[in-house]
Symmetry: C2
Subunit: 298 residues, 2 copies
């Protein structure tokens, strides 16, 4: 199986490196070629566009930034993946978008692909750069179960928890569930730690009391200590989280579903982003949560 990969940033790059290490051939394209240099040195083959990648491959994975990027690299009629597949006989080929993107776009891609005999999956991940490096990602997959099963070898290399979630878009919807959960957890963690600091408590002792019981969460155990050390470097960037929460809330709106907590979290993160914290990690909500007017005053 000739594998193509579009988008070799922190996540995509680490995933391609795993595929290469497992003996797969990878044809890659990235908007910034410099980002692929280490992969090319490790045996990846460069192609000049998503279309050129697709022309050389049986399956193309995309891991790019925003839904508009996904749309561009897969659907652009001149330079996109589907166009590349058409050039070389599309039937039976596969495109897998691993970007966190719109469920509605995943459905649109699925339909456009189906028209030319290509199978499409939406397969966003969670687990961050560490999960990408170690192959311990959670991968949430929508599309058809048949296509999902064809890629079992790849899932094995990239992920630890790989779940087929249902029809096209179901992977993206599941990722939205994941992000809604994190939004709530992060508000709780950041407000709780601010309260603890302000009340003059010993935060290490507080964590010893609360982290392993009913108030516990991954966010508290993993990001709480970073916050208390003043470490706001990104595991996951605020500007990406804002993108995800916007998608979640647009989808919720379309389903006539009101999510007041998620709405608030999005607003707080947007304020942080607007005040220059877009490239901080999501735990920087701690800095801004004191006031909705002045998020960065802390």
């Amino acid at each position: 199986m000739r594998i193509g990969w579009i988008g070799t940033g922190i996540m995509g790059g680490a995933m391609v490196a795993r595929l290469l290490a497992a003996g797969h051939t990878c044809v890659v394209f990235s908007r910034t070629k410099g980002r692929a240099e280490n992969l090319l040195a490790a045996g990846a083959v460069w192609a000049d566009s998503p279309r050129r990648v697709a022309e050389a491959c049986d399956v193309v994975f995309t891991m790019v930034g925003f839904p508009t990027d996904v749309e561009e690299v897969i659907l652009n009629p001149e330079t996109g993946v589907l166009r590349g597949f058409q050039e070389t006989g599309a039937a039976g080929k596969m495109v897998v978008d691993m970007t966190t993107s719109r469920p509605s776009l995943a459905k649109r891609i699925f339909e456009a692909a189906a028209k030319i005999g290509v199978s499409s999956l939406d397969a966003p991940v969670s687990g961050g750069d560490v999960g990408a490096k170690n192959g311990t990602l959670s991968i949430m997959v929508g599309g058809t179960h048949e296509t999902f099963e064809k890629l079992a070898d790849v899932w094995e290399i990239l992920g630890k928890t790989v779940q087929f979630q249902g029809a096209a878009g179901a992977g993206q919807h599941t990722k939205m569930v994941n992000q809604i959960l994190i939004a709530g957890n992060m508000m709780g963690v950041c407000e709780a730690l601010r309260y603890a600091k302000k009340a003059g408590l010993d935060t290490d002792t507080v964590l010893a009391s609360v982290a392993t019981g009913a108030a516990g969460s991954w966010s508290l155990s993993h990001l709480g200590p970073r916050i208390l050390n003043g470490d706001f470097a990104p595991g996951f960037r605020i500007r990406h989280f804002v993108k995800d929460l916007r998608i979640a809330l647009e989808e919720a709106d379309a389903m006539e579903l009101d999510l007041p907590g998620t709405t608030l979290a999005k607003r707080l993160y947007e304020l942080l982003q607007d005040s220059g914290h877009g490239d901080d990690g999501t735990q920087a909500l701690y800095l801004g949560v004191t006031s909705t007017e002045s998020p960065a005053r802390a």
Copy 2:
């Protein structure tokens, strides 16, 4: 050490039962005597008021409902615990409030007790009725470390994670941190599961994808499945949680700390309580989170 106990509801009753089983003598009082019957059958001794309990004991624990109840049973000049201690020689005696109550009240009790030579601790718990029964509570203690250490035998019987948190009020403040965390987690869990349902996902498969990763929490793992089974019976009642969040936000206000997420959670839970869900478990936020106008329409 003669132990007194005031408040023998679900939590207090289970804790007294453990003390009795460990061979301690307990003198008990509860507003509703019927609630103490099983304890009396197991060897507890009844007293007719908090004052009478204190007259017979070296240390008195209180586990009642609201801060006003705490104030009444400890500080009432005619019938309260401190009055009882005074009748029989107060010096060296101890009062320990395990109710989730106001940090500021804990400080006031500490000072009133100190004036007559009595040591006071605030020692709220988390871990619910199961933790109370099994002696696996998290106990968060404020006061003096010396008094905390004198009660090591009791902590051993009642708790698994027992932490001295600092001066009077620090135990209550730590419990507020715990409740702020839970407020965020519960908003995330309930909104995420509503989204999953509305999007038509298979919620069991979704939980398999999200529960063990970065979106994971105790609330998701323990209350998520109950929600999906339509089980809104109380582990922890909404009306008690509303009380706790009101205390947390009053304390935050007094510290000039803005907690927007916790403020929203309190409002959502108040709306649920106002619409008849006060005795449901906190996971019933799932029912009401669709709209801030109409929390119970689901």
